[in-house]
């Protein structure tokens, strides 16, 4: 009989600390920041006068992606000053996500809630700060009661706007990234364990061992799918950040 014991959730999410205040998630986060820095440093050191190729091409493509597909679509030309922040957000999340499908590491740092939560709170502070900078104290009144709201609806709209903007935005940013990456990680673990268990099962039915290729193929497919998820989640987080910051700069939003 095939016996498959799924490991405890903490076993697939938490790893032995490297030292007491530094674990694998911290290691991945630091590695993502270092890798991002090295890539852009190397790209910046290449000859800029000729057509970009290799690492410079990669860096310039990511800059143009953020400018054209994120900022110009949400904030317009006046939002181009936010390129460094949004670029670092995208690159950092992307690299933290990517470790989920890199052999040996095989753990997206964003599948733990710490990093998504920190980034969401940072974005929350940034878009509220931007709103205060552009609209001064009227930011909060404009936020709660967008221009044109009838007086009778103000209490209801104010309540809804308060919750949706102040509470739900950081929460949804956090949970969306964290839950997607955690679900992807658990799925990969599930199919990897199932493949291993079926391949190694001591059974009188050899077909069961051969059948292990099915979850293995599913594992391969899900790994490829996870590449898309990795990119998509980084993009969604970044574009929503741009939308929130853009909406803070104008009262009509």
């Amino acid at each position: 009989m095939l016996g498959l014991e799924f490991p405890p959730i903490n076993e697939i999410l938490r790893w032995q600390d490297v030292f007491s205040s530094f674990n694998k998630i911290a290691l991945i986060a630091v590695a993502a920041a270092v890798l991002g820095t090295v890539v852009f440093l190397l790209a910046g050191s290449k000859d800029a006068t000729v057509a970009p190729k290799g690492i410079r091409n990669l860096a310039e493509t990511s800059v143009e992606f953020i400018e054209d597909s994120v900022i110009m679509q949400t904030m317009g030309k006046e939002g181009l000053g936010w390129t460094p922040f949004l670029l670092s957000l995208f690159v950092f999340i992307f690299l933290c996500n990517m470790t989920g499908i890199i052999p040996i590491l095989q753990m997206p740092a964003t599948a733990r809630i710490a990093i998504p939560l920190f980034l969401s709170l940072l974005v929350w502070i940034v878009f509220i700060g931007t709103g205060l900078k552009h609209q001064k104290a009227r930011y909060f009144t404009n936020l709660l009661w967008p221009p044109g709201v009838p007086a009778a609806l103000k209490p209801l709209v104010g309540l809804i706007e308060f919750f949706s903007t102040i509470i739900v935005r950081p929460l949804s940013l956090t949970v969306r990234l964290f839950a997607n990456m955690l679900a992807g990680h658990i799925l990969l673990v599930t199919f990897a364990l199932l493949s291993e268990a079926m391949f190694q099962a001591k059974t009188h039915v050899p077909l069961l061992n051969i059948g292990g290729v099915l979850p293995f193929f599913m594992l391969v497919f899900l790994t490829a799918f996870e590449v898309l998820v990795v990119f998509l989640q980084a993009y969604i987080f970044t574009i929503l950040t741009a939308v929130y910051i853009g909406s803070s700069t104008h009262a009509e939003h």
Partner: protein, 220 residues
């Protein structure tokens, strides 16, 4: 004596009480399912031991401070570096290259405009030359026409002259032949009349009649 053995499976913890007396016959019983004949203080002791042994990991969705600190710190450092060092260097190079490309495009546009102007000038010159050539051709054609007309006139005059001469010659020949024929017809007619009536008619009259008849025949 009973010993508490704690095993973890997922988030569930199971406590087994293992009796060690007698030495070679171990009996396992769970605290939850099997009522144990233990003294109250023994039960309390077992529970306390189990609680000390169970150290559940933190909630999988609870943020750990060290992860927040390292993750957040890493991002902040990266973002600051990106804002003040990495992005400006990269963007400066991109802007310089795009400015160069833009300048090249503008240079190419200017060159294209110059080339277009030159082509337009060349085409204007070509049109002038073509017009001049057409004028020359027209003039030559008119000259040729005039010469041709003059030559035709001369040739026509020559032909008319020749024709007049030929006509005159022809008329003279015809007149000569006609007088001979009239003479012969008159002679034959006089002879015929003579043979018919036995008397020769006046030659003058016969000649006049023949001339009239032939003249009428010619006109007919």
């Amino acid at each position: 004596m009973l010993t508490a053995v704690v095993t973890q499976s997922g988030s569930a913890f199971t406590v087994h009480l293992v009796a060690t007396v007698p030495p070679n016959s171990t009996a396992e019983q769970t605290t939850s399912s099997e009522p144990m004949l233990l003294a109250a203080n023994e039960v309390a002791s077992v529970t306390a031991t189990a609680e000390e042994t169970i150290k559940p990991g933190p909630s999988p969705i609870a943020p750990e401070l060290k992860e927040v600190a390292w993750g957040g710190g890493s991002f902040v450092v990266f973002a600051v570096l990106m804002r003040f060092v990495l992005f400006p260097r990269l963007k400066k190079g991109m802007d310089a290259r795009y400015a160069g490309i833009r300048a090249d495009h503008e240079g190419a546009d200017a060159t294209r405009a110059e080339a277009k102007a030159e082509v337009a000038g060349y085409e204007a010159q070509l049109a002038g030359v073509k017009a001049e050539a057409a004028a020359h051709i027209d003039a030559a054609r008119q000259t040729l026409e005039a010469e041709r007309a003059a030559r035709l006139e001369v040739v026509g005059a020559e032909i008319a002259q020749h024709r007049a001469a030929a006509t005159a010659e022809n008329d003279a020949a015809r007149a000569a032949v006609q007088s001979q024929i009239e003479s012969a017809v008159a002679d034959v007619s006089g002879r015929a009349i003579e043979l018919a009536v036995g008397k020769r008619p006046d030659a003058t009259v016969v000649a006049r009649v023949v001339a009239d008849v032939m003249g009428a025949g010619v006109s007919r």
